[in-house]
Symmetry: C2
Subunit: 212 residues, 2 copies
């Protein structure tokens, strides 16, 4: 595998795990030394992560991991709230039963793993959502949603704590499938809206109580 790709995944994971704390300066040299590669792949990866807003400018020189804040989390969820119900509505006309079936399989997988970490649960969750959005055939929209998800994923860290939400959230997923199966796009979009809104509020509250 290419060093660039390895490094990309590794650095991202390390950021999530807090190995590179928010707010401290990261330089090419530092990272090149730490990961034992030359600065060239480091440059590539840093630039890519900056484009994805996983790294932001540190003053004039270098980059840093952006701090996690309730304010930012709220922003991310406000945007999701505008885009995801739209994506779902656009996807509905192209959604077939085989795709709904795949989504159900995913939900079963989640059910079978009550021991998963918050992060792992978040990933499966997103896979479920994405499966429903994919058929909308809007590359830019899907690209932006994927970026948003990855931003949100930072907030899930690798924390083990559950946020006392999984049960309700899970129920709503099954309801969503049911509404889609019955071809009720408006009701599905509305449920999705409330679903995301609730998750957002919970995360924001959590962050206000336990600042990162």
């Amino acid at each position: 595998m290419l060093k660039k790709q390895q490094l990309y995944l590794q650095l991202k994971q390390d950021i999530q795990q807090g190995i590179w704390p928010a707010g401290i300066q990261l330089t090419q040299q530092q990272l090149a030394e730490h990961y034992a590669v030359s600065r060239i792949p480091v440059r590539d990866v840093m630039q890519q992560l900056q484009a994805e807003a996983w790294l932001i400018p540190y003053g004039k020189a270098g980059l840093m991991v952006p701090p996690l804040t309730a304010v930012e989390a709220e922003e991310l969820y406000q945007i999701r709230l505008q885009l995801e119900p739209m994506a779902l509505q656009l996807a509905v006309p192209h959604l077939n039963f085989s795709q709904l079936g795949q989504a159900e399989d995913l939900l079963m997988q989640i059910t079978r793993r009550p021991d998963a970490s918050l992060f792992e649960r978040g990933e499966l969750n997103w896979q479920f959502h994405l499966l429903l959005y994919q058929p909308c055939q809007r590359p830019h929209l899907l690209r932006m949603l994927t970026g948003l998800h990855q931003q949100v994923a930072r907030y899930l860290g690798f924390q083990e704590q559950a946020m006392d939400y999984s049960d309700i959230s899970h129920q709503e997923h099954w309801q969503l499938i049911e509404l889609l199966r019955q071809n009720k796009p408006d009701a599905a979009a509305e449920l999705l809206y409330q679903h995301i809104a609730k998750a957002g509020e919970l995360l924001v509250q959590h962050l206000q109580l336990h600042p990162a």
Copy 2:
């Protein structure tokens, strides 16, 4: 000035001008030779433009300029329609008269240049919109809107043709300012929605009649 920055601006402009036609393969070597620099800055710039979706994968190797299509334009405007009224609403509480004044100055500038190309007019237009969104204090939202604008700007190319819309569009800008001055955020957001919707429809129609 850094070669990377120069190259970034130059390549972007050249893409807009159609010097690198949509659908043909672009390689690092090719561009490095053409712009008389080494592959290093070319790599950086290509990667950045890929992140902004100004370049997309060409099969397995290399990148290409994505074709301009009515379908894509419609997608971009659908997303703007979801995000920009929200940005405006969020900005309203922080909008002060000095910012409204700046926006008015911009409108006057546009008025004084009826000879500007479609592209130049589009830029001034965007400066106006952005000025109203900036105070929303949502970095991700502003980043996404900026990206969307740049995508849309590709569609304005360097065409000289007006699309017979400037007058109405311009009037609506003044109306928008007026509503904001009167502190009517909902009405302003609604006007903005219709404003963007009309512009989008016009662009899509234009593309359907004159495919790129």
